[in-house]
């Protein structure tokens, strides 16, 4: 009897301790490998627009991520990391449900994204409360990093940095004294144009706003002409930028036409036509991609760099979201898009803005000028 009891007790104790060990080891495979043994086989997530009208931008980012993962997995065949894609179609309404799906998926250890500022604002709290670190390659709204979400970072300079540099270029390098600023009313565009307006100070002669999808720019063209402006800055994307540039030139405008990274795309030249686009200046907070960089398009280099930071964290042995987040916070290095280090809000510390020129009917992506 007593033997049975003792036997039973020890079996119970053994079973109990085995189960505790089994439960305990769910959180990691006892990894003290310097080569990131813990998170192998896990996933990174991408949240952004993959379909719909803005889908091309999301595809660019995914191309950048895939490139980084391909290189990493080739170098670390026993420790592959994969990508799970979540298509928000760029809309902030769909994003929260996708965010919940992401945080409930235990195989996802980090997020490259969200792609747009609207989605970032709608999901930042969700990721923060769940402790999932994220690095956005493209969301530039200034207020995102003011929310106190310590898990949110971005590898792209926010609208403040680019706007100030653009204003500087216009007044100093281009020598303009009367600048007309136009934007398309969207969050990114208004943010960028707003910073430019503030930084221009007295050099700002007037401003106006169009809508995405507008094709009739005649009113703006006339307003520009009658204001006597010698430079026009457009905050927005390449379609409206191209149409504006074309109609300005057709209307006889001879000054400088400048726009931001949303227009820094070969499509700008196509839309504006060679004559309309010539001599346009397009700024972007990214250095030209290296010649053999396998992924093209706006934001591809940023997505590539963001992915590599996660991969470096994993390689360094980070075991969970908190450690990855700390790694990101203390990371310094040189990415394809420029030098990367984050400040305490998640913004990138140094953001070099480059001016790209349209010459001879083509966007010159190889020889930009850095705006100091």
């Amino acid at each position: 009897m007593r033997l049975n009891k003792v036997f039973g007790a020890s079996v119970a104790t053994l079973a109990l301790s085995l189960s505790m060990v089994a439960c305990g080891s769910d959180d990691g495979d006892g990894g003290s490998d310097a080569d990131g043994g813990d998170l192998c086989g896990k996933n990174l997530a991408f949240l952004g627009a993959l379909t719909g009208d803005a889908g091309a931008l999301g595809q660019n980012m995914v191309n950048g991520i895939d490139l980084a993962l391909k290189e990493y997995n080739a170098d670390n065949p026993d420790c592959k990391i994969n990508l799970k894609k979540f298509d928000s179609q760029g809309s902030p309404e769909k994003a929260p449900a996708l965010a919940t799906q992401i945080i409930n998926d235990d195989t996802i250890v980090g997020l490259v994204g969200p792609g747009f500022s609207g989605e970032s604002l709608a999901t930042g709290k969700t990721f923060f409360e769940a402790g999932l670190p994220s690095i956005s390659p493209s969301a530039t709204n200034v207020t995102i990093t003011q929310q106190g979400w310590t898990t949110w970072h971005r590898v792209i300079g926010n609208d403040d940095a680019q706007g100030k540099a653009d204003a500087k270029y216009l007044t100093e390098t281009a020598g303009a004294s009367k600048v007309f600023v136009v934007d398309d009313g969207q969050d990114y565009s208004k943010g960028l144009a707003g910073t430019v307006k503030d930084a221009l100070g007295d050099a700002l002669v007037d401003s106006d706003q169009i809508s995405v999808g507008d094709t009739n720019m005649s009113a703006i063209v006339q307003a520009v002409k009658s204001s006597g402006a010698d430079a026009v800055f457009y905050g927005g994307y390449y379609t409206e930028a191209g149409l504006l540039a074309k109609q300005l030139r057709q209307g006889g405008f001879k000054g400088t036409f400048m726009s931001g990274d949303g227009s820094e795309d070969p499509n700008f030249v196509k839309v504006a036509g060679a004559e309309g686009a010539n001599d346009a200046v397009l700024s972007a907070p990214a250095a030209p991609a290296p010649a053999d960089f396998g992924a093209t398009g706006l934001y591809a280099t940023q997505a590539y760099d963001a992915t590599n930071i996660f991969l470096a964290a994993i390689k360094d042995g980070a075991k969970d979201g908190q450690e990855i987040n700390e790694f990101i916070g203390s990371y310094t290095g040189d990415g394809v898009s420029g030098p990367i280090a984050f400040d305490e809000n998640g913004d990138i510390k140094e953001s070099k803005i480059f001016a790209y020129f349209v010459k001879d009917g083509a966007l010159d992506v190889e020889n930009p000028e850095a705006i100091e």
Partner: protein, 338 residues
């Protein structure tokens, strides 16, 4: 609110007004399609915006076909031959799409005497489907393994992106009044719209088909009793709307040069607004409504800023409907004098 901007100098005033007339002419041509279908069927053809959009793609495709994809800038004179071919293609495609809409989305419902609301829903569905089909043309091409051959036309991977005409047509100033210079393209657009309206007016008044249209607009049953084939008349109405849209598409591409699969949408809503403003069912009303809308939009931009431009259009519509519910020129198609 800056009235000084608009009325300050003759140059400004003329520029805003003439610029408005140019786009207004394009609205008017599209509005003709809406007004004709409404006049005959008392139905809003929501899908007419896609009829226009397909026309714009036809123009771009013709230029790519005849010129290739290299960027170029031509003068209006050199572009005329290609433009004429593009015009034919646009009219053909637009008319074809219009007939398709009539056959699939409207005729079954008209035969059943279904409530107007259902016909409207059917048209909305057709509108979505057509616009999306254009946005998915690269996938469709893939299914038929044509995506490589037709890559320039279907833009694989970028079918929803903006689609440009590689040839930009340079505008030349013809003459100058008060500081404002009228360009050749602008003149062509305004004159074309006027000509088309006159032609259509004559067609409706003088030809047999025109009489048939007016008869069906007045009273379909009596018209049938008098030997008019209502189905045929409806088809002709849709085709005419398609032709007008094709002309509008060519002029639009001449001036703007870019299109995308949702390009028809906002233009369609504005054109319909113009048709209602002028008096729906009234051809001259469509022209008047279109021109007034174009000018008011530009004036509104000048005074309130371009971001309020669309609001101007709708507020104008509401005001006109409140004061004069049948529109500015009121008269319906069926009441036109013989």
């Amino acid at each position: 609110m800056d009235f000084g901007n608009l009325f300050g100098s003759p140059e400004n005033f003329l520029s805003y007004t003439m610029g408005g007339l140019v786009f207004g002419a394009i609205y008017a041509l599209i509005a003709l399609g809406y007004t004709m279908v409404y006049g005959v069927l008392q139905l809003i053809n929501f899908a007419h915006s896609e009829v226009f959009m397909y026309g714009t793609f036809a123009v771009a495709w013709v230029f790519i076909l005849l010129h290739g994809t290299g960027s170029a800038t031509w003068d209006l004179g050199e572009a005329v031959p290609v433009l004429l071919v593009a015009l034919l293609a646009a009219c053909a495609l637009s008319a074809g799409v219009a007939l398709l809409i009539e056959r699939v989305a409207y005729r079954p419902l008209l035969n059943k005497n279904a409530p107007k609301l259902i016909a409207l829903i059917s048209a909305i569905g057709a509108s979505f489907a057509l616009a999306e089909a254009m946005g998915l043309r690269d996938r469709f091409a893939e299914v038929f393994r044509l995506d490589d051959n037709l890559a320039d036309y279907v833009a694989p991977g970028k079918a929803r992106d903006v689609f440009t005409n590689p040839v930009t047509i340079r505008e030349h100033d013809l003459f100058t009044i008060g500081g404002y210079s009228l360009s050749d393209i602008d003149l062509v657009i305004i004159v074309s719209a006027l000509l088309m309206m006159v032609a259509l007016d004559q067609f409706v008044r003088r030809t047999r088909f025109g009489r048939g249209i007016r008869a069906v607009a007045q009273d379909p049953e009596s018209a049938a009793l008098m030997g008019v084939n209502p189905t045929r008349v409806v088809q002709v109405t849709f085709v005419i709307g398609g032709l007008m849209a094709g002309v509008a598409a060519t002029l639009y591409m001449m001036k703007v040069g870019v299109t995308r699969q949702n390009a028809g949408f906002i233009l369609g809503v504005k054109a319909f607004t113009a048709a209602v403003m002028g008096g729906i069912g009234n051809l001259r009303g469509a022209l008047l409504g279109g021109l007034i809308l174009g000018v008011m939009e530009n004036w509104g931009s000048a005074v309130f800023g371009q971001s309020w431009k669309d609001v101007v259009a709708f507020v104008l519509l509401v005001l006109i409907l409140l004061v004069r519910p049948s529109g500015l020129l009121g008269e319906a198609l069926g009441k036109a004098r013989a």
